[in-house]
Amino acid sequence: MSNAAEFPLLSLVLFTPLAGAVLLLFVDRTREDTIRWIANLSAGAGFLVSLPLWFWWDTDGTQWQFVERVPWIPSIGAEYFLGVDGFSALLVLLATMMGSIAILSSWTAITERVKEYYIFLLVLQTGMIGAFVSLDFLLFFLFWEVMLVPMYFLIGIWGSDRRLYSAIKFFLYTLVGSVVMLLGILAVYFEHHSLTGTYSFDVTRFHELNLPVEVQWWVFLAFFLGFAIKVPMFPFHTWLPDAHTDAPTAGSVILAAVLLKMGTYGFIRFSLPILPEATRQFVPMMIWLSIIGIVYGALVAMAQRDWKRLIAYSSVSHMAMVTLGLFALTPVGITGSIVQQLNHGISTGALFLLVGLVYERRHTREISEYGGLSKVMPVYAAIFLIMTMSSIGLPALNGFIGEILILQGVFVVNKMWAAVAASGIVLGAAYMLWLYQRTMFGPVDNPKNEQLADLSMREVATFVPLIILAVWIGLYPSPILRRLESSVTYVISRVNPAYAPQNANADVTAGGALAEGQ
């Protein structure tokens, strides 16, 4: 099925959650179970309608598929221009899936202001999908900012402890980055006009632009601020532990699984292809920030006493790994970086869900409060084990594929970088296994833990797709790698032509073969 003909699939995917949110507006707030059903069904429907992005995807088709294009603000050249490549299609799938899981996981956890909660989650969902499918820079920015407000409320109303502080910190931090990015967008827009004579926010046109290097340099910095805060890269990561720790479980899951990908998505979609010269100039800075992030995130994670905060810092470390692979600017590195984004979404999303489950039961996240849980909650312990292994990159699970591709991509550029990055993986194994040992093994010291209930069917159901995906990507990643080929080639041919196009294919295939060999 090529391009799904004229059917506006992306609009459907985009607005299904929003339709659910609008529907919820008209439901009486006291009918909480009805609200839960509607929210779950609309999120589930959102996931189902996004599945054609996988099944109807044409690997040999055009770069941009499922394209929709309608004028939006004609006088300034802005369009309602949607389309996906292999990379963004996968991110959309990740978003719709994690969104449904997050909504399902909230059934018993949220008992106050239920209606608003689900409305915000569904609006957030539309914002995220919108950012991934927009090929008009202004439209992208619109969705990008739309995500802020629902997330702010999710943390601020349903969060824990210092939720107001964390919420406003998240809000202002990301806002500063994005408004500066907006100036970068405007600069590209006017440069595009002075070079080509047309006013347009069309990203694919920007990809063909050869901007003067000084302009690229400044615009890169502007984009960098927006995206690096979102990733978050060291030293802009300080909002993340607070936001993650105080957010409700579903908020943390979405934040980790999807929102953080916005930053790396931005780099790949905008910074690299629009600003290739500047990107190459900034490689050393980006690489060193990534390496610092990997090691620093891991060391700080090791020192945490709060379970959720530990996972939050592990996110900093893992996302730094993603940016490391990205800025190696090799086809394998970028492929690995994208795969690792999906992996991080799956495994860290699952880890936050797991923390949320014990938090819901015990209302504490202190690691020292737990111990020996594997005896009381065997199913829980098993799932936690799988996700821990996935997170530290055990072969046969998804994390390994991403990490090996990234290291391979970095290694050919600079062995030192690869060596330092590999040490981060060791540290990652250390803090995760130590966490597992402290919480799951040993005697059940705390009497409060003795009566903990193991997972219910609904709770297990939230993990099933994640476990399947973790194993599938770990054993047979080539369908995903194939979908990424054209995206990676497209970016590489702009940013590092030395590798493109014939080398790119060769390398990706090599990476794929290697991964399949496991």
Partner: protein, 492 residues
């Protein structure tokens, strides 16, 4: 027919004539009517405004000079007149319940609102320093009275005296500047001024005249350092008047600013652009920083409106057609969100609650979810968060600055707009996260509901689908002309 006038002149100022007669009608109705049927006055006022809008609409593509070149009937004037009338409509809609609670006489109140609108309309059309000044006086005098309309209220009295004294002083300064321009050029007509003075040598007198005019108009738009009056006056005035003052009076002054500088003195752009650059930066920064610590919402919105004047000045600095377009877009967007925010404050005014403190908003969400949602959108729009209209306005102002090469100004602008989010979000925190405040239940009158709905629709729809507004603004801006951009490419 008096010599020098033609029937066309009367046709061209038909909207103003309708408005004037309507204002008198309101005054007469007030005297004739019994005290009990007072609500009728609001309807008469709305009908007058509606009739004026209807009469105005055919002028959307007019391009004429009326009254011996005293008035320009062009797209630019049309745009602003429509804006003033819409702002007046929303103000009248939100006034009815407020007048009841405060026990004010409606007749004079509505009459003065119409007079102020009339003054603004002459300001927008004024192509001659004399017309501009007369329009400005008409508007200002009406506002002096309106600001002090709460007779027993001390704050209102103080506000009126302050506004009157500082206002007349600033008008004096403006008049002094204008008279110097006249002395130098021998004409008060802005278009003639542009041609006669362009060839003249620039003396210190010309620069002096320019600075005085900037100071005079700077007062009206509440640009720092001429903003001192704004917080006190905004806080003391009756809330609907505060809303109208912060939207209508500001927009009218911006129209005059554009007329005088972009249309009348474009050849001096290299002098006034740096001047406005400094003013813009000061105005944005001082407004936002001062707003951070306010606990009174009216006062906070006063400082925020100072900051918004700063954003508008960014467009003036650019001075290009795009800059003017952005200003026009922004004024419309600003009108909706600012009026909407004030409408919520008016709504909170009950017999037992003044309703303008931040704590009065506490838990508004639990009392009146719809109002809290509306206020949420107004705050986000004022802060410039998409998909609200405030974003589209700011976005294009910054765009104009970047295109004209004022990148740093745009950077300062976005940083300011990020700072401003802090105090807008604080309002949201009070409404959504805090416990309910005490006080009698909130009653929303039908008129108020309409005012809120219109403002909300403006603040949201113009954010999602701003295309037509952009086009109209661009057409109107073209009728004004603009300063050539500083350079072609970006000065990186």
């Amino acid at each position: 027919m008096p010599p020098g006038f033609s029937p066309a002149d009367f046709y061209n100022i038909l909207p103003e004539i309708v408005l004037t007669s309507g204002a008198l009608l309101v005054l007469v109705t007030d005297v004739v009517m019994s005290h009990a049927s007072r609500p009728l006055l609001g309807r008469v006022t709305l009908a007058v405004l509606g009739a004026t809008i209807l009469v105005l609409l055919p002028f959307h593509d007019a391009d004429a000079l009326a009254s011996q070149g005293l008035l320009a009937i062009d797209g630019f004037a049309f745009f602003f007149k429509l804006l003033f009338l819409l702002a007046a409509v929303i103000t009248v809609l939100m006034s009815a319940s407020y007048l009841d609670v405060e026990g004010l006489r409606a007749g004079a109140y509505y009459f003065l609102i119409l007079c102020a609108t009339l003054g603004m309309m002459f300001m927008a059309s004024g192509i001659d320093l004399i017309t501009i000044f007369v329009g400005l006086e008409t508007m200002a005098v009406a506002f002096y009275v309106l600001v002090g309309f709460l007779k027993p209220n001390r704050r209102s009295n103080e506000a009126a005296v302050k506004y009157f004294l500082l206002g007349t002083f600033s008008l004096g300064i403006l008049l002094f500047g204008m008279s110097m321009l006249y002395g130098l050029s021998g004409t008060t007509n802005l278009r003639e001024l542009a041609t006669t003075l362009a060839t003249e040598e620039r003396g210190p007198l010309l620069i002096m005249a320019l600075v005085l005019v900037v100071a005079g108009i700077g007062f009206k738009i509440a640009a720092v350092p001429f903003h001192m009056w704004a917080p006190d006056v905004y806080e003391g005035a009756p809330t609907p008047i505060t809303a109208f003052l912060s939207v209508g009076s500001k927009a009218a002054a911006v129209a005059v600013l554009l007329r005088i500088f972009v249309e009348g003195l474009p050849f001096l752009a290299d002098v006034w652009q740096p001047l406005f650059w400094v003013l813009a930066v000061l105005t944005m920064t001082v407004g936002n920083v001062a707003a951070l610590t306010q606990s009174n919402v009216k006062r906070m919105l006063a400082y925020s409106s100072i900051a918004h004047a700063g954003y508008v000045l960014i467009g003036v600095v650019a001075g290009t057609t795009r800059g003017v377009t952005a200003i026009l877009v922004y004024m419309v967007v600003y009108a909706f969100m600012q009026l909407g925010a004030f409408a919520v404050i008016v709504m909170l005014r009950r017999t037992d609650v003044v309703g303008d403190e931040l704590k009065d908003l506490s838990g508004l969400y639990f009392r009146h979810p719809a109002a809290a949602c509306a206020m949420l959108f107004f705050m986000l729009s004022l802060g410039g968060i998409p998909p609200t209209a405030g974003f589209m306005g700011k976005f294009w102002l910054f765009g104009a600055a970047i295109e004209s090469g004022y990148v740093w100004l745009a950077v300062i602008g976005v940083v300011n707009s990020a700072i401003s989010l802090y105090y807008y979000v604080r309002v949201i925190v009070f409404m959504w996260f805090k416990e309910e405040a005490l006080g009698s239940p909130i009653v929303v009158s039908p008129a108020m509901a309409v005012a809120l709905t219109v403002s909300l629709a403006g603040a949201v729809v113009l954010g999602l689908y701003p295309g037509p507004l952009f086009e109209l603004a661009e057409l109107s801006a073209q009728s004004l002309g603009g300063v050539a951009g500083r350079v072609g490419a970006l000065p990186f």
